[in-house]
């Protein structure tokens, strides 16, 4: 069984953003493997370590710099990597086609995708690629087991959680709670440099385009209340009622 795991190269949570000419600009050095995708890499590598998978292939879509995210996935235990290279700003639906094609090409029967991407704040890629492939999707997964040819999972739904089962092939979107991702060790980082990484140009047209970008900051009152507990408490209660009018 071959597992494909999608990784995205996204700005770090602390990266400085600037809005310039309708685009958000980020320093190239402030990018890293999306934390949400690390759970998928970890899940894939654990299945392989348990002898339940033959190969783990890391897939990425993006510009040349996205190779760094793939190298991280390789250092975490993926066997090989494919970069679907595109400099275009592709929305998740536009990415879903090429990603589905790549997953098929490597013979994957389990495709892992992070639950939400930290650049677009989007949860769409996993479900969209599942639709392209015609596979079921288990989204927001917190427990994942492979039992024979069947995936047994638990995932979050609107009001709680739900048990979910399906025979391979399936798409699973990952999130915090699924596992504790390991850190890449120095020897593994060195080894990752020699693992195969293939680059393929990808042509896709965007279905959504960005017209303008801004960095809004909400005006806050910024009031500090000082004094003993009873004083600040009654002052806060009064202000919430009379000033903010929220009580």
């Amino acid at each position: 069984m071959i597992i494909a795991t999608y990784v995205k190269h996204v700005p770090d949570a602390e990266a400085r953003l600037t809005a310039d000419g309708g685009r958000i600009e980020v320093d190239d050095h402030a990018y890293a493997l999306d934390g949400m995708d690390e759970y998928g890499v970890e899940a894939a590598v654990r299945l392989k370590e348990a002898g339940l998978a033959d190969e783990v292939v890391a897939l990425a879509i993006g510009p040349a710099r996205a190779e760094a995210a793939l190298r991280t996935a390789l250092a975490l235990g993926a066997d090989r990597a494919v970069l679907l290279e595109s400099d275009d700003d592709l929305d998740p639906l536009a990415q879903a086609g090429p990603l589905a094609e790549a997953a098929r090409a490597c013979g994957a029967e389990l495709l892992l995708v992070g639950g939400k991407q930290a650049d677009w704040d989007s949860a769409a890629l996993g479900p969209a690629v599942a639709e392209v492939l015609g596979w079921p999707v288990c989204d927001w997964t917190t427990e994942l087991r492979l039992e024979g040819r069947e995936i047994a999972a638990v995932h979050d739904v609107d009001d709680g959680s739900e048990a979910w089962r399906a025979e391979l092939p399936v798409v699973v979107t990952t999130q915090q709670g699924l596992n504790e991702p390991r850190y890449p060790t120095l020897p593994n980082i060195m080894k990752a440099k020699r693992k195969p990484l293939e680059r393929q140009p990808v042509a896709a047209s965007a279905r959504v385009v960005t017209l303008a970008a801004a960095l809004p900051s909400r005006a806050r009152r910024g009031v500090r209340l000082e004094g003993d507990a009873a004083t600040v408490a009654s002052e806060l209660a009064r202000r919430l009622r009379d000033e903010a009018k929220v009580l």
């Binding site: 639950g115 939400k116 650049d119 969209a128 801004a214 600040v232 903010a244």
Partner: protein, 319 residues
């Protein structure tokens, strides 16, 4: 024709349903609503008819607890039959999974988790947040139809229409692929708890509380007093004090209540991304340099254990 997909629970539309009605009315043109589910969804469809001129009830009991794939097939059938130019749905967990599949199935575009949507020429333009809610983007759909998932609380709940609408039932047909996933037991959050995304007031506790008992006493206590939703930071969830479904932030829920209490919360960027659209923010933290104070309307530098009992007494003493 704008089609709105209605989520419901316990025989009534969820609050988000009426927000979608407002979004659809703002767009203008014909509006229809679709309700999925067996006989229990009948009253939901009837309730919706007071708000929209045309309600389609896909009457199939399997849709009461159905895979995303079944729901997509049912919605796609209605959208295609009506020739919908746009399908609006809520941006909750289920909408996040159904929206992209539906958009691809209809060969259209997806405007995801939007705070506002409007017409521009023959297409739709929306406002949405990105980069962990730090940036605001104006995006345009380049394909049609457009599936739009609308953020909870982005629109006010609609008032009933002047004239009641009609309800029509229809059946749905499914394929084997729709049943590839088999759903098991569903565990709901504790009964009586306020749904976080729908709460007007949210009380969030962080590691600064010290331990799970203090969280229960102060955070859950204040939330109970105010009929508020209980939220946690990732650190609290990682420590095992509280369940995942209470987590607010990048990897948890996005909330935008009128009033947000951050108790013993330091305010990491990842947490702020889940709450920075809130109306009034109150922060209580021992560390006066904590980043949470930068997004607070009212800040108290102090020990939650001392301030909270006094605050609860003061709030209950308000006229």
């Amino acid at each position: 024709m704008i089609l709105i997909a209605i989520d419901h629970a316990h025989g009534a539309p969820r609050r988000g349903a009426f927000e979608l009605v407002s979004a659809a009315r703002d767009l203008g043109g014909e509006i229809a609503a679709v309700v999925l589910g067996g006989p229990d969804a009948g009253p939901v469809a009837a309730a919706l008819a007071a708000f929209v001129p045309r309600v389609i009830h896909v009457d199939d009991a399997t849709l009461d607890h159905a895979s995303h794939e079944r729901r997509v097939t049912a919605l796609a059938g209605v959208a295609t039959e009506l020739g919908a130019e746009a399908v609006l749905l809520g941006a909750g967990r289920s909408g996040q999974a159904v929206g992209p599949r539906l958009a691809w199935r209809l060969d259209g575009a997806l405007l995801e988790d939007v705070a506002a949507v409007r017409r521009e020429g023959s297409t739709l333009v929306a406002e949405r947040l990105a980069y962990l809610s730090r940036a605001s983007l104006t995006v345009r759909a380049e394909a049609s139809p457009v599936v739009v998932s609308v953020k909870a609380g982005a629109y006010p709940a609609a008032a009933p229409a002047d004239a009641p609408g009609t309800v029509a039932s229809r059946a749905a047909t499914f394929t084997a692929a729709d049943d590839a996933a088999r759903l098991g037991e569903r565990r709901s959050v504790a009964r009586g708890r306020v749904a976080l995304e729908e709460a007007d007031v949210v009380v969030c506790g962080g590691r600064g509380l010290g331990d799970a008992d203090a969280f229960e006493r102060h955070v859950v206590g204040l939330a109970h007093d105010l009929g508020a939703g209980v939220a946690s930071t990732r650190a609290v969830v990682d420590a095992g004090w509280r369940p995942y479904d209470e987590q607010v932030g990048q990897t948890g829920k996005n909330v935008a209540p009128q009033l947000y209490f951050a108790l013993g919360v330091s305010g990491a960027v990842q947490h702020l991304s889940g709450m920075n659209r809130s109306g009034t923010v109150v922060a209580i933290n021992k560390d006066g340099d904590a980043p949470i104070f930068k997004v607070a309307d009212y800040g108290i530098v102090g020990d939650v254990h001392e301030v909270l009992p006094a605050l609860r007494a003061a709030l209950s003493g308000l006229d």
